[in-house]
């Protein structure tokens, strides 16, 4: 009897558990931290909802290039793409943090800018543009920020070579 119960329980639970959501967006947990997975289309709307819900600051915004990492865990409904923009928000009143992971495809790497709601993302989005080549639609001044303006390529992409300059030792013949 117990066996049957246990078996039926096992069979039922995976199907019954609906994906967890918060603010109408898929929610996962990563080491006790809340992670939301909006799509590119729902991202601006979600930011507006979060802003109204008391998440008044974007503390961090950065990009990740998943070109050579296919082991990441995403909810089934989310289509993995090469790039991901990771946004960390904070709610000071409830002392809560939220992280958004937005998938950005390699072709057409564009994401709506969070600038109007969160002006503090200005420099962070520029950095993400500079390092990954992800454009932010609606950003007022999308220029490179850390690299020189005439630089070619985006250094934090995984297919960008790590430059190595041979170390010159005193007395050794120069190799160029």
């Amino acid at each position: 009897m117990t066996d049957i119960d246990a078996q039926s329980g096992e069979a039922d639970t995976p199907a019954e558990i609906a994906p967890e959501t918060l603010f109408d967006t898929l929610l996962t947990h990563s080491h006790g931290q809340l992670v939301l997975h909006p799509t590119r289309e729902s991202y601006p709307g979600l930011l507006a909802t979060l802003h109204a819900a008391g998440y008044h600051s974007v503390v961090d915004l950065c990009g990740v290039d998943y070109l050579t990492n296919d082991s990441r865990q995403l909810p089934a409904a989310i289509e993995p793409e090469r790039f991901e923009v990771v946004v960390n928000l904070i709610n000071h009143r409830e002392r809560a943090r939220l992280r958004l992971r937005v998938q950005v495809p390699e072709i057409d790497a564009v994401l709506p800018s969070a600038f109007i709601l969160y002006p503090g993302t200005e420099a962070m989005e520029r950095e993400t543009f500079d390092m990954f080549g992800i454009s932010f639609d609606g950003h007022p001044d999308l220029t490179r920020i850390l690299m020189p303006e005439d630089w070619i390529g985006h250094p934090l992409r995984k297919d960008y070579d790590v430059g190595r300059i041979p170390v010159q030792f005193k007395g050794a013949p120069a190799n160029r």
């Binding site: 080491h31 008044h56 990441r72 960390n88 943090r97 503090g120 007022p140 934090l156």
Partner: protein, 444 residues
């Protein structure tokens, strides 16, 4: 000729090009919005009108300040549009110290990571090491021993003292109080001496590592701490006499570069700048990490959000840090200074001589490093400059797949255009100084 027609003449002389401040008559409306409207919540039209009405185009001048200017704390470059001596617009241009540290972090193992991140905020290196180590520990799901936690608290608070003393020195120097610079360096040197006794280095310690700290506190560390705790109150009282009660110093700071809490939150600003507006927020108290919930200290807030408040808060935070250090002295538990988990901790030196397994293990951990399970985590701590966060994505190997540091100075620099709007050129120096940017952390 055709392509550069609309751009100012100097654009072709540097490699910054479009990153520079363009003159008022060619600038797009959206860029005006960035400079003015974003924080003040103006519409695009209002942002243009607000500027246009006040200033005829032929009365303004764009000048360049930095990156070699001594008051820009390293290699910060500002472009200022001036009308007479009033700053109308300002644009910080950064990147002169960019060395690709986030990319370097991907090439180094988790054990080598702290040597890299410690070079970001070179005035408070232990904090970046701590943020990195806490993130790695979160991914590994390990708890460090009690003693390691308290050693980390003691050391970072000592580092906060030295960092704020450095601010006292440079702030004094920027405002012409040169004797303050000498005093600030002198006291900072004492704090660094203690850090050197413990870690072996004055800066770039590589002391806090995933799994604990690199070495136990040396014999006689209590004397070192007590010497500093006995010396500092008298010296801080001297600062108080020298600066707080000096009318010229107050005049130069009070009411200069004011900002309010809403603007700070919108811009993502943290740390002393946010607290100077009266907003009561300190991660050590509000989202405690390490054992900050077991110590007693006050969060100091200002009321006007001006340069003087930011200076006074840092002075008061030295006192609060001393309070925490004193409690660390009393409560320092006995035990291990690093986790006894063979996965992340190399075997002790004595074991290597007698055990072949220990030797192999030692060799493996330093050549290959340890593997960290797949996942991603963000951990933030309160550095002397604000929220310092570290975001790491692991793919299960012994190198981080992506290592990103949320540098407080990088975000805080965005206040400069807002703080400087309408102030004098001489105040610009005071404002840069009060934001206290560390360019190693801004550019990474």
């Amino acid at each position: 000729m055709t392509a550069t027609h609309e751009l100012p003449a100097n654009v072709n002389q540097t490699s910054e090009g479009g990153q520079e401040l363009t003159s008022a008559d060619v600038v797009a409306a959206s860029e005006r919005l960035r400079e003015l409207g974003a924080v003040l919540r103006l519409s695009e039209n209002d942002a243009i009108l607000a500027e246009r009405e006040q200033v005829p185009d032929d009365e303004t001048m764009i000048i360049n300040m930095g990156p070699q200017h001594p008051s820009t704390h390293g290699v910060l470059r500002l472009m200022l549009e001036l009308q007479g001596e009033t700053v109308l617009r300002c644009k910080p241009i950064i990147g002169y110290l960019h060395t690709g540290m986030e990319r370097t972090g991907e090439e180094l193992t988790y054990l080598q990571g702290p040597t890299n991140v410690t070079r970001m905020d070179y005035a408070a290196p232990l904090f970046t090491e701590l943020a990195f180590s806490l993130t790695v520990e979160k991914l590994l799901d390990i708890e460090v021993p009690e003693r390691a936690i308290w050693i980390r608290m003691l050391m970072t608070e000592m580092n906060r003292i030295s960092s704020h003393l450095l601010f006292m020195a440079t702030n004094g120097m920027d405002l012409g109080a040169v004797s303050m610079m000498l005093y600030g360096w002198r006291e900072r040197e004492e704090a660094l001496r203690f850090l050197q006794e413990v870690t072996g280095l004055r800066m770039n310690h590589n002391y806090i590592r995933p799994g604990g700290v690199a070495a136990d506190l040396p014999d006689g560390w209590r004397d070192g701490v007590l010497r500093l705790l006995d010396m500092l109150p008298g010296r801080l009282a001297e600062y108080d006499t020298l600066l707080n009660q000096q009318p010229i110093f107050r005049e130069r700071l009070q009411g200069v570069g004011a900002i309010n809490a809403d603007e700070c939150l919108a811009l993502g600003v943290t740390g002393p700048i946010l607290r100077s507006t009266g907003y009561d927020w300190d991660l050590r108290r509000d989202m405690p990490y390490l054992a900050f919930d077991q110590v007693d200290f006050d969060v100091v807030v200002g009321s006007y959000g001006d340069c003087f408040d930011r200076y006074a808060i840092r002075l008061a935070e030295i006192h609060e840090s001393m309070k925490i250090v004193r409690q660390c002295l009393e409560k320092m538990p006995k035990g291990d200074y690093r986790i006894q988990d063979k996965k992340v901790t190399p075997p002790p030196r004595a074991r290597i001589d007698e055990s072949m397994e220990a030797l192999i293990h030692h060799f493996k951990i330093f050549t290959e490093g340890f593997k960290v399970p797949e996942g991603e985590a963000y951990v933030a701590i309160e550095s002397p400059r604000g929220e310092l966060g570290c975001y790491i994505v692991s793919d299960g190997s012994s190198n981080p797949y992506r290592m990103h540091v949320r540098a407080p100075s990088f975000v805080n620099l965005q206040t400069l255009p807002h703080l400087m709007h309408g102030s004098l050129v001489a105040d610009a120096v005071a404002i840069i100084s009060s934001v206290d940017p560390i360019l190693g952390e801004v550019d990474r």
